[in-house]
C-alpha cells in the first residue's frame, strides 16, 4: 500500500469482499535530508496507508526492503543508464520486490493472496490488461514469476480510475480519494534521474560526461553534457539548425556519442529482446502476436521469427518509432499478456514501407525519459 488511492481502494474492496486483509507498505529507499512532500513513498504516504488501514480495521506494517530494492532495482537503473539504455525500474520492482520479496513476507504470515492496486486483471491464472486501457499497467508486470499469478488479486483492475476514486469516497477514504498520481520514479525525488546516477557512480561517470552529437553518417554536429540525459526518440536538448525535426536515434556508450537523425531513422521493423519471461506456455516461431514497446504505446501486430533461449526476435507488420534498449517489450494476445523481455535493439531500420506507426503527441518532446514510468 503506497498510501495512494489505488492500493487503498484495493484493500478496502477486499475487506468488503470478506478477505482477512493485512496492509503492508514497503520502505524502499531513504531520501537524505528533507525533501518536499512526494506523492509516493514519502513518510506522509506511509502515514496515509496506516490511516487507511486503521479506517478499514486491518493491521498495517511497514516492511523494510531497502537493501534488496537498492540492489535489484536502483543499482540496475543506474547501470542501465551507464550502458546507454533507458530502464524502467517499475518493471524490476514488480518482478523482484513486489511479487517476489513481498510474497516471501506474505508466506511468513500465511497469507494466501497478494493484492496490489495495479490496473491489470488476472483471469484463470493469466494476466490481462486492466479494463481501463488508459490506466493499464499490465505492461509493467511481464517479468513476474508465472506461479505468482494464481495468488494475485488486482481488485481495481476491473474498474476505471474514476470508479476507483468514487469507491474511495463511498468507503470514506477521504485521505486518499483525490490524491494526485505521481508521474515520477519513486526514488528519483525531483524527476532528475541524473542525480541518482551521480550519487552512485560519481560526477565523473562517463554517462554524465561531455560527448559528441553525431549524425548517422558519422559527422559531429555538437556536444552534449552526458548521454544519460538522453533516450531514443528524444527531441529536447538536441542541437538545432536542421531542415527537419531531429530525434535521438541511438546512444553509443563506447564513444559517449548520441546519434541524432530525422524521423525515418527512428523507425524499426523488427525488435530483439532478451531476458524473456513467459506468463503462459511459450509461443512458437511463426506465431502472430501483438506487442507493445513502450508504456502507453498502442499495440502493434508482429510475428515471432526467432526464439533462442531467453532471446526473442519479432518482425513488425508496420515499422515502429523509438524502439529503445532497456525498455520492455510486452507480448499480448488481445488483452492477455503472454510474456515480455527487455529490448536489446531494433532490427530492420529504415523501412521502405509506408509508415503508420505510433507517433507520440506530448509537446515537442517525443519521449521524456523520466515520464510515464509509473508502473505502480
Amino acid at each position: 500500500m503506497s498510501g495512494g488511492v489505488d492500493s487503498s481502494v484495493a484493500a478496502a474492496m477486499l475487506v468488503e469482499q470478506g478477505y482477512d486483509v493485512v496492509g503492508a507498505t514497503m520502505k524502499l529507499f531513504c531520501h537524505d535530508g528533507d525533501l518536499p512532500d512526494r506523492p509516493c513513498c514519502s513518510l506522509d504516504s506511509v502515514n496515509d496507508a496506516r490511516r487507511v488501514c486503521q479506517t478499514l480495521g486491518v493491521p498495517h506494517y511497514v516492511l523494510n526492503l531497502e537493501s534488496a530494492f537498492g540492489r535489484d532495482v536502483v543499482e540496475n537503473f543506474v547501470n542501465e543508464y551507464a550502458n546507454g539504455r533507458t530502464p524502467i525500474p517499475c518493471v524490476r520492482c514488480n518482478t523482484f520486490t513486489k511479487f517476489r520479496d513481498l510474497v516471501v513476507k506474505a508466506d511468513g504470515i500465511d497469507a494466501r493472496w497478494i493484492a496490489t492496486g495495479h490496473y491489470a486483471r488476472t483471469i484463470d491464472g493469466e494476466l490481462h490488461r486492466g479494463i481501463d486501457h488508459s490506466k493499464d499497467q499490465s505492461y509493467f508486470l511481464w517479468g513476474i514469476d508465472r506461479s505468482v499469478l494464481r495468488r494475485m488479486l488486482l481488485p481495481v483492475g476491473s474498474q476505471t480510475k474514476a470508479e476507483t476514486r468514487a469507491v474511495a469516497h463511498t468507503l470514506g477514504l477521504e485521505v486518499v480519494a483525490e490524491k494526485q498520481e505521481s508521474q515520477d520514479i519513486c526514488f528519483v525525488p525531483d524527476g532528475d534521474h541524473t542525480k541518482i546516477i551521480r550519487q552512485r557512480l560519481g560526477a565523473n561517470a562517463p554517462s554524465l560526461t561531455e560527448g559528441p552529437f553525431v549524425l548517422s553518417n558519422g559527422s559531429r554536429v555538437g556536444t552534449h553534457a552526458g548521454f544519460a540525459r538522453f533516450t531514443i526518440g528524444q527531441r529536447r536538448g538536441l542541437p538545432g539548425g536542421f531542415r527537419e525535426p531531429m530525434f535521438v536515434v541511438a546512444i553509443r556508450p563506447e564513444d559517449r556519442a548520441v546519434v541524432i537523425g530525422p524521423r525515418e531513422e527512428l523507425l524499426g521493423r523488427g525488435v530483439v529482446a532478451r531476458g524473456v519471461n513467459w506468463l503462459v506456455d511459450a509461443p512458437r516461431v511463426g506465431d502472430r502476436v501483438s506487442l507493445q514497446i513502450r508504456h502507453r504505446a498502442p499495440a502493434v501486430a508482429a510475428e515471432i521469427i526467432r526464439l533462442d533461449g531467453d532471446e526473442i526476435e519479432l518482425a513488425l507488420d508496420e515499422p515502429v518509432a523509438a524502439i529503445t534498449p532497456g525498455q520492455s517489450l510486452v507480448i499480448y494476445d488481445g488483452d492477455r499478456v503472454l510474456g515480455g523481455g527487455l529490448i536489446e535493439r531494433a532490427a530492420g531500420r529504415r523501412s521502405p514501407l509506408p509508415v503508420s506507426a505510433w507517433i507520440p503527441a506530448r509537446r515537442a518532446t517525443l519521449v521524456n525519459p523520466t515520464e510515464a514510468f509509473r508502473g505502480g
Binding site: 531513504c30 513518510l43 511468513g108
Partner: protein, 387 residues
C-alpha cells in the same frame, strides 16, 4: 483470539492506576503555574518541590540535583551537550562512549562532534558488555565526558558502571549514564557510585510519556539547551509539566520500593520463556545471554533463517506484540546497530526479535508465547523448505 499479550515493556509501559490517581488533581483544581505568586501557584509549587525531593530520594540524590525534562532523549541531550558546551573552553575535546548506546546518546555525541568534540567509541565484547580495557585506553587527559548506558535497551546487558565511573573519574572526565532502561530494575544510588550525570524516563516505569529527569551532581556545570525562563534553576526553562512530574515521582517511588520483588518475578518469567523456546528451537541465539549481568526483562532472540519482520507480523497477528531493531520514522525496522556492534552477523541480526516483559506479563502469557513462538518458527521453516 485470546487476550493480546504485550511483550514490549522496554518500549513503553501503561500508566499505573496509582500514578494516574496522583496526577488527576493537577489536571483539575491544582492547575496553577508553579511560578505564580498566588495560592494556585503556591499549591503547584509545593507539589512540584515535594515531587522533586521524592524523585531525588529514589536515587540517593538531593532535590537540587534533579532537573525534569520531557523524557529520556532530552535528558541525554541536556546531559551530554550541556556538559560538553560548559566545559568546551577547558580544552577537553574527547567524548568516550559505546557503540551500543541509544540513539539519543549516539546522535547527541555526534552533534557535539559537529561542535568540535572528538567521538571515541569503545569496543564491546561479544556478550554485549563494554570492553573495560578498551574503554580505559580511550580515556585521556583531554577527555571531557564519558557516557555509558546502565542497561542496554535492546539486549538487556548491564554495564559495569561502577568500574567505568572510577576509570573516567581517574582521568578527570565527567561520567554520564543513560539509566532509562535500568531505572527500577537495578539499584541506583548516587551516594555509592560517583557518576556525575544520569538520565531517567517516566514512561518505562508506569508514568506517562513526556516526562523524564536528569540527575546533575552538585558542582557540575551544565549549559541549558533552552532559553527563556528561570525554571529548574535555569537549567531547563519552560513552565513545568506539573502533573507529569507528580506522576513520575509516584511511579519512581513504587518502582524503587518494588524493585527487588519485581526483578525476581520478571527474571523467573524470562528464564522460563528462554528455556521453553530453546527446548524447541535449539539453534536460537539469545543475544547477551553470556553477559555476567543481565536485566530481568529483556530477551533478544534470533532464529537463524526466520526474518524478524515476518516474525513480528506473525506474532502481532496472533496478538503478541514484540519489537525488533530500532523503528525508523516510517515505522519500518532497521538493522540493529547494537547487534552489529557486538559482532552479530547481519543475517542473524536480521532475525532478531526483542521480547520485554513487565507489569502486564502473566505466567499464562509466558506459557502461551512458549507455545506460539516455536510453532511460528517451525511453520516458517516449513515454508522455507517448501519454496
Amino acid at each position: 483470539m485470546p487476550d493480546p499479550i504485550y511483550l514490549d515493556h522496554a518500549a513503553t509501559t501503561p500508566v499505573r492506576a496509582e500514578v494516574l490517581e496522583a496526577m488527576l488533581p493537577f489536571y483539575g483544581p491544582k492547575f496553577g503555574n508553579p511560578s505564580s505568586v498566588h495560592r494556585w501557584g503556591r499549591d503547584a509549587r509545593t507539589a512540584l518541590d515535594e515531587a522533586r525531593e521524592r524523585v531525588a530520594r529514589c536515587i540517593g540524590a538531593t532535590a537540587d540535583e534533579i532537573c525534569f525534562t520531557s523524557g529520556g532523549t532530552e535528558a541525554d541531550n541536556l546531559a551530554i551537550l550541556g556538559t560538553w558546551r560548559a566545559r568546551r573552553s577547558e580544552g577537553r575535546r574527547g567524548i568516550v562512549t559505546t557503540p551500543i548506546e541509544h540513539k539519543a546518546v549516539l546522535e547527541t555525541v555526534h552533534q557535539a562532534a559537529n561542535e568540535g568534540a572528538e567521538e571515541r567509541l569503545c569496543r564491546m565484547t561479544s556478550e554485549g558488555v563494554v570492553d573495560v580495557d578498551s574503554f580505559r585506553a580511550l580515556l585521556g587527559t583531554d577527555t571531557s565526558i564519558a557516557s555509558v548506558m546502565w542497561v542496554n535497551n535492546e539486549i538487556g546487558t548491564i554495564q559495569p558502571i561502577e568500574e567505568l565511573v572510577a576509570a573516567a573519574k581517574a582521568a578527570g572526565a565527567l561520567f554520564h549514564t543513560d539509566a532509562v532502561q535500568g531505572f527500577g530494575k537495578v539499584a541506583i544510588d548516587s551516594r555509592t557510585i560517583p557518576f556525575d550525570v544520569l538520565s531517567i524516563s517516566g514512561h518505562k516505569i508506569g508514568a506517562p510519556k513526556g516526562i523524564g529527569a536528569v540527575f546533575i551532581r552538585r558542582g557540575t556545570v551544565i549549559e541549558p539547551l533552552f532559553h527563556g525562563g528561570s525554571q529548574d534553576r535555569g537549567r531547563r526553562p519552560g513552565t513545568e509539566n506539573v502533573a507529569s512530574v507528580i506522576g513520575f515521582a509516584r511511579a519512581a517511588e513504587l518502582a524503587v520500593a518494588e524493585r527487588e520483588e519485581h526483578w525476581h518475578r520478571l527474571e523467573a518469567m524470562r528464564v522460563k520463556l528462554e528455556e521453553a523456546i530453546l527446548a524447541r528451537v535449539p539453534d536460537a541465539v539469545i543475544h547477551g545471554r553470556g553477559a555476567a549481568h543481565r536485566a530481568p526483562h529483556i530477551i533478544n532472540i534470533s532464529v537463524p533463517g526466520v526474518d524478524s519482520e515476518s516474525m513480528l507480523m506473525a506474532l502481532d497477528l496472533r496478538g503478541i506484540g514484540c519489537s525488533a531493531g530500532s523503528a525508523c520514522q516510517s515505522g519500518s525496522v532497521s538493522p540493529s546497530h547494537v547487534l552489529d556492534a557486538i559482532g552479530v552477523a547481519p543475517d542473524v541480526a536480521g532475525a532478531a526479535i526483542r521480547m520485554s516483559i513487565g507489569s502486564l506479563t502473566t505466567d499464562d502469557a509466558i506459557d502461551r508465547v512458549s507455545q506460539v513462538f516455536p510453532a511460528l518458527v517451525e511453520k516458517a521453516r516449513g515454508v522455507a523448505r517448501v519454496s
